[in-house]
Amino acid sequence: MTSAGSGLSVLQTCALSLLVFTGASQFALVGAIAAGGNPLTAAAGAFFLGVRNSFYGLRLSQLLALPRVVRPFAAHWVIDETTAVSLAQPTRRSARIGFTVTGLTLYVLWNLTTLLGALGAEAIGDTDAWGLDAAGPAVFLALLAPMLRTSTERAVAGIAVILGLGLLPVLPAGVPVLVAALAAPAVLCAEGRRAARRTTGKNPQEDPQKADGRQGEGR
């Protein structure tokens, strides 16, 4: 929807929607190109955002038990929404139906709204005057907000913002975002070291149930 304002043609916008079909990755690609990024680094960022679909696929493949032949076709619809609907179903049959219906409706609606949005943006002309360049960051913020549940996520986000903005003037376009991604392993590493120090400071046999509960919270 926002991509036509950032240097992609209507055809490119629709191809992206049809072929990628993962909202966050599409927005990331468009956003990075709009920010003046190198298209390939933009693609790398979009790819990393799509990696979470792998983990959805893992859960879904056990749940749906799809035949091998169907899997390459089903894979295209492995996204947040289809996973959420399928996991909420009580039986394998209803999970399969849920997956197919959600996948099909979302695929059709998503691509139709993309086409309308791209055509609409082209008709409007100067998208900046209408404030449409603020839609990109707002979309990202809306995707990001529900992920910031614990202090770990907030620390990652904070460090990533500092890296992303701080390195912007000194590194080539697109690279600061990739460097900012290093905030994730960095925070995980620091967290792991802190957890290790905490467990060595206590007697593990003292209260095993409590220790388990604490580990569970960290996940």
Binding site: L19, N53, S54, G131, P137, V156, A157
Partner: protein, 102 residues
Amino acid sequence: MNIWIAVAVTAVGCYAVKLIGLLVPAGVLERPLVRRLAALLPVALLAALTAQQTFADGTTLVLDAKAAGLAAAAVALILRAPFLVVVAAAVVVTAGLRAVTG
């Protein structure tokens, strides 16, 4: 042309990771550390992209009406507004501020 390549690379990459999830035997990607990292990578990328799109013009940092738009989106999110309202808030506030300040 470059954008077409980026579109193609993204499409192939995103499809590949979806398919891998369905084909890979469970357990390989199920390790807690890999899972945590996969959950945190989008957080880092989204945070950096949000900041850059709001405060960057090319390779220089700027503070303009978009910052107010993003603040409006943040308020809408705190009030648990639906997705489209959040985006609309950012767009309307940005456009309004630009119209007022010229």
